[in-house]
Symmetry: C2
Subunit: 419 residues, 2 copies
């Protein structure tokens, strides 16, 4: 079969499955998630065997250790996937919720019903557990899924797919509810993102290169997150103890995450009081520091920040520091150089926190809290498919609700429109 025919078949099967999933009951979907968990448990030796094949191929190809680590499936990670399925089963089902039903002057009642998006295409890199993460969230929200994993994890993903389908079928849901592409042909991605007749939305999960490529060529909407160039602004009216803890936590909790602080803005009136302490603490953590001239005037341990630095998401133990003369300058800097992901103010001043919240154009704006909280679990969604920096549809951490849509429903009793 040609790739074109194969992808069309996958697409048609997904569309047909999505019609059945859209009307599946919560109980059916939860049963399928538990059956998937059971099937993974049963397939444990096979999963490990197939994963070893991927690991061997990876080593032979000379993949770097970080990539190999992400590729690995061991007992603990399989436990994690099984636990994840059970957690998703325990989440409330968003589908079918009717809201805002009001009577209108014509006599009709109108409101909205929450419904699945339909078919979701997920494109991801080497971590095989994403197969289960993504499939479970899509299934719980009543969507059919087409998954395309990285070629390095091909055998692992195929084995996971078999277990998933076993669980799905056992529970009476459509066989094609979750499909994992069985090809590593790059053209498959190109086709997947350009068949709006079969795919309603694409979620790319991986590095910036992948996301940019997908966004550029996609003919269907993409739920994506590009950069997380997050800021903390320490105001002259900040509680400096809180400011210290928040800045340290935002930068050093983890370096490789999108909600880590990459740029620290400090009001000039408090810079001399707080910056030396922060520099010392960052030094201890081996965080490299660059900054503006004013910052460098306060500490000789700060290197020169270039214009490029203000735009940069380091994802590493590195931080840029800028001294600003007031909050307005901080807001203007964030809106210009930031990536509209997550930005925080530390201040005890009511009016300033109020203005900062309104004026900073980011998916999460925080007051006196670490940017690290920008996360689906921390926000109480129970799960997360990613964090969106788009303004359209889902913005910020995306949980089950982000995989749904709302359609209007109208109830009449023979109503017709006059003019």
């Amino acid at each position: 079969m040609s790739l074109e025919s194969y992808m069309n078949q996958i697409g048609q099967q997904a569309r047909a499955a999505s019609r059945l999933l859209a009307k599946a009951s919560t109980q059916q979907k939860n049963m399928a998630l538990f059956a998937m968990a059971k099937a993974l448990e049963d397939a444990r030796p096979r999963l490990i065997e197939k994963n070893q094949k991927d690991m061997e191929n990876g080593r032979a190809k000379g993949l770097d250790p970080a990539l190999l680590d992400r590729l690995l499936l061991d007992d603990a990670r399989i436990d994690g996937m099984i636990e994840g399925l059970k957690q998703v089963a325990s989440l409330p089902d968003p589908i079918g919720e009717i809201s805002g039903m009001v009577f209108l002057p014509s006599g009709i009642q109108r409101g909205q019903m929450r419904v699945p998006l339909g078919v979701i295409g997920i494109i991801y890199e080497s971590r095989p557990n994403v197969t289960i993460d993504a499939a479970s969230l899509c299934l719980k929200s009543g969507n059919a899924t087409i998954l395309r994993g990285g070629s390095e994890a091909f055998y692992s993903n195929q084995a996971i797919a078999e277990a998933v389908t076993k669980g799905v079928v056992l529970s009476g849901l459509p066989e094609h509810a979750v499909q994992v592409l069985n090809t590593t042909d790059r053209e498959a991605v190109g086709k997947l993102i350009t068949m709006p007749e079969f795919v309603d939305v694409i979620v790319p999960r991986g590095g910036k290169g992948l996301i940019e490529r997908v966004s550029k060529d996609a003919r269907v909407p993409v739920i994506k997150h590009l950069d997380g160039n997050c800021h903390v602004y320490i105001d002259d009216e900040a509680d400096l103890e809180k400011a210290f803890l928040i800045a340290m936590n935002a930068k050093t909790r983890r370096y490789g995450v999108c909600n880590a602080m990459e740029s620290l803005l400090i009001h000039s009136a408090v810079a001399e009081s707080i910056l030396p302490k922060l520099v010392a603490a960052f030094q201890e953590k081996e965080v490299a520091l660059v900054g503006c001239d004013s910052a460098r005037g306060i500490s000789a341990l700060i290197g020169v920040a270039t214009e490029e630095d203000w735009y940069t998401e380091y994802l590493a133990p590195k931080l840029s520091i800028k001294i600003v003369v007031n909050m307005e300058e901080a807001i203007a800097h964030i809106n210009q150089y930031g990536s509209h992901h997550t930005d925080a103010i530390v201040s005890q001043n009511y009016s300033k926190t109020r203005a900062f919240m309104t004026e900073v154009d980011s998916s999460s704006v925080m007051v006196n809290a670490s940017t690290s909280f920008a996360d689906g679990f921390e926000y109480g969604f129970g799960a997360e498919i990613g964090i969106s920096t788009d303004k359209i549809h889902a913005r910020g951490p995306v949980g089950l609700l982000g995989l749904t849509s709302q359609k209007y429903i109208v109830l009449g009793d023979g109503h017709t429109r006059d003019n």
Copy 2:
């Protein structure tokens, strides 16, 4: 100045204006709308003079009478624009609304704040009043607007733009809150839809050709509506009097509108009772009828429907008719051939109406009501920028809310994340 530089300048100005508009108070925005109304009133003779220039050029170019009619600005239409501005001023301001603030286990509070999208690009065809419609809705929702009207209405749009800017500036809002492109170069559209750094969303308003072109090439999200291939399904348990009135209203209220019925589905058990009456009534209205073999078996006045007919939005006094054996067939037909715009069931059976609402995958699903109600005004939004058949972001009639986004806000008091 090159087109490239011109468009970049427009984009930068819009982005800067959007920052100020985002924090404008409701009162400021309403004052601007009233000042725009006053400026239009003052510019009335100039508007009519400039419009006559467009009309003359249009006649010279041989534009068809329907197009010329849409192009015309007379006193009544200027009154309409002025009235529209006042109506938008009277709508509640959606911006700033905070919802869903909850305390989470970590101690932070998280919720969402409704904010403008930022900069909205509107591309429309010859009707100059769209300039005011679109500008007023975008301004009320705190967005900066870049408008690109059809070249036929060039002089009219420039004159309207002058009046708009006069009103905006008088009220203290940024001069570039509403910009109308002063070029008819087609490349300007190409640039407008591919500058995500300056434009957050594009709304094309016009024929299908325009919308398809824009969607294909856009690098920013598009709020669009393609076809309105709407269905009414008359169930065997329908109240046939209601069914008759709804079917007639859905088809004949207006022919050229997207919420008009284009295809009528009738349960076979009631086809013989209701179809002849409908055929007679449609004949009287000079609606051309095509249908399936079963329909043609009941009335010889029905022509042959081809496969193509089931997909077709006639936007004309023409209707396709299909007899189905049950509701499931009707739903499957609608989901396959429809355009996911608006579809209705007429039935007194509770279980069937419940299933129809859940299973029909359209932006509006109606029970015992005419598809004609799919409209922002009828839904109580007070205004409408269009009807979206996308599932992402805005779905169905799009009012002010569809021109907004929600960002997360987090309130802490020195909170940091542990793990």
